[in-house]
């Protein structure tokens, strides 16, 4: 049995990760690793980078086609898609956030990993308000594949 089945925490080996070139461009990381009947990400993608064999299959992303627009981050009912872009030594992570209070732009928040543990400070770069608010944070590059939530 995999750890995610027991604990609800994905490990990097469970995910399809992009290479360095893709990360420089900025791409969507889809952390949807269990077959459920759901496909809005496929419909939302403007470049047809996301595909699924059928509604129960896992989404597959073609990182060459992905332009990092974030449409899938907004639409995913499971809040399971994150944008990651590496700029020099920093990483920009865009994630869905559904709690109050909302973070302020340019404020410092705590970045949390997949277990909700604080891993480092992050600076809020962009807040796109909505019922599901889309927040972009900046933090050191080494946390690019760890930080998946924030504590305001």
């Amino acid at each position: 049995m995999k750890r995610w089945e027991r604990e609800g925490v994905a490990e990097l080996e469970d995910l399809n990760l992009p290479d360095e070139e893709h990360l420089k461009k900025g791409v969507a990381i889809i952390e949807c690793i269990q077959e459920i009947p759901c496909n809005p990400c496929v419909d939302a993608c403007p470049t047809k980078a996301i595909s699924m064999e059928n509604i129960n299959a896992l989404p597959e992303i073609d990182y060459d086609k992905c332009v990092g627009c974030g449409k899938c981050v907004e639409v995913c009912p499971g809040l399971a898609v994150f944008l990651v872009k590496v700029v020099d030594d920093a990483a920009l992570i865009t994630l869905p956030y559904e709690f109050l209070p909302l973070p302020e732009e340019e404020s410092t928040v705590k970045a949390l990993n997949r277990e909700g543990k604080e891993i480092c400070d992050a600076v809020v770069k962009k807040v796109k308000k909505g019922r599901t608010t889309i927040v972009t944070i900046e933090l050191p590059k080494e946390y690019a594949m760890e930080a998946r939530n924030i504590k305001v």
Binding site: M1, W4, E5, R6, E7, G8, V9, A10, E31, C32, I33, Q34, E35, I36, P37, C38, N39, P40, D43, N54, I55, N56, V75, P77, G78, L79, A80, E98, F99, L100, L112, N113, R114, E115, G116, K117, R131, T132, T133, R148, N149
Partner: protein, 479 residues
Amino acid sequence: MRIEEHPILDFKRGREIHFYYNGKKIRAYEGETIAAALHAAGVKVLSKSLKLERQRGFFCGIGKCSSCLMKVNGVPNVRTCITLVKDGMIVEDNDMELPEKEYPKCKFEKIECDIAIVGGGPAGLSAAIEASQYADVLIVDENHQLGGQLIKQTHKFFGSKKQRAGTRGIEIAKILEEEARKNCRVLLNTGVIGYYDRGYHFLAAVNRVDGIIYEIKAKKIIFATGAQENMLVFEGNDLPGVYGAGGVQTLMNVYGVKPGERGIIIGAGNVGLILAYQLLQAGVKVACIVEALPKIGGYFVHAAKVRRCGIPIYTSHSIKKAYGNGRVEGAVIAKLDENWNFIEGSEKDIKCDFICLAVGLTPAIRLIAQTGATISFINEAGGWIALHNEYMETTKEGIYVAGDLANIEEASTAMIEGRIAGLHAANAIKQIPNFEEKIREYMEELEIFRQGYFGVRPKKAKEKIMERYYEKVGERRSS
């Protein structure tokens, strides 16, 4: 206890009013139920058990468990969780005496319709929307609003565009209600209390708010009465503060009242996982989620959402006891071995003021059982179930089921089943052009939905239901 700010919901509270609870004046808002107003005022004991007089608190929140029965304006046994509070209302403990005053005089009304639908949740409303394109439809629901349990679902639904994926349950409820109201008659606050076969299908229903008894004559009836939450056996499981998970969703997401300050959830299926996330959104702490199975039962994406907020999920664990003086003050959980026995010494004591049980649902068959439709026990379907065919028709001609009543499943599949039942019932009254094509399309949609990992159990349940249906009915009835 009231939620003022919420990331997803706006609570539009009505006018401030007052009512009396055992002589004490209590503030409330128009549009909320008596039980919600009492909870907001800190009243957690609502009734007592009949024999041992043990205290009973809020549990299911949708009128199905009888934990909240109280005396309201002299009338005993009122389900305070689905009865709206009114200015000046007198609410008292149930004393189990017959009321002194005569039962209020009721008006009688007779209604005839092509298709009567009992229950205005996702299945019932979808059946109504479909059937009302071709037939005269009446929806009867005992609640004060339509939408069933969708009205408390703040998360975005899964599925495809066709099933409104990406739309929150609360929004789907509004869309369905608006569409259904266009062509259907609707009776709210009206509970169906009996079915009679008079050579035609006949329902007796009561509107307790306005004092009206309805006699409903219908050519076909679709029952979409949903399900009720399961209890779990453990010491202290009847302490006020042990709630059904759905009951907490109703209290919190419909009426904006917090269940407590810090809770634990028993069961890591989708209901338990979603509830944990919703509690955090309402500003309530969740100590942990406890699951008896070795793996998480709900969707990974729901589990990942609560994990990255720091909530632990303890699989292979269960609750040993709840303790507290008259209300929940804590719980003891422990690890289970392969034979489901508690492992000595693995106990954890968790301080909390409420416990949510998310341990499954049981189809609410009490009404459908009156019709004479064959009921059969099917574990995979959630218990006793009315046998039915692929058109959702039971062994009793003209009586249909849909949604959780027909197998514990998703709102998405409930909506498709409702469509199938509505279409088939309408076609049986008057032939619909392209009926075969239309119904096949819905059936294919259902089939696709049940193809994945999470479709295995419901699919097996449906196979058993239909196998036993055809054993009972004999050869395939023509559609």
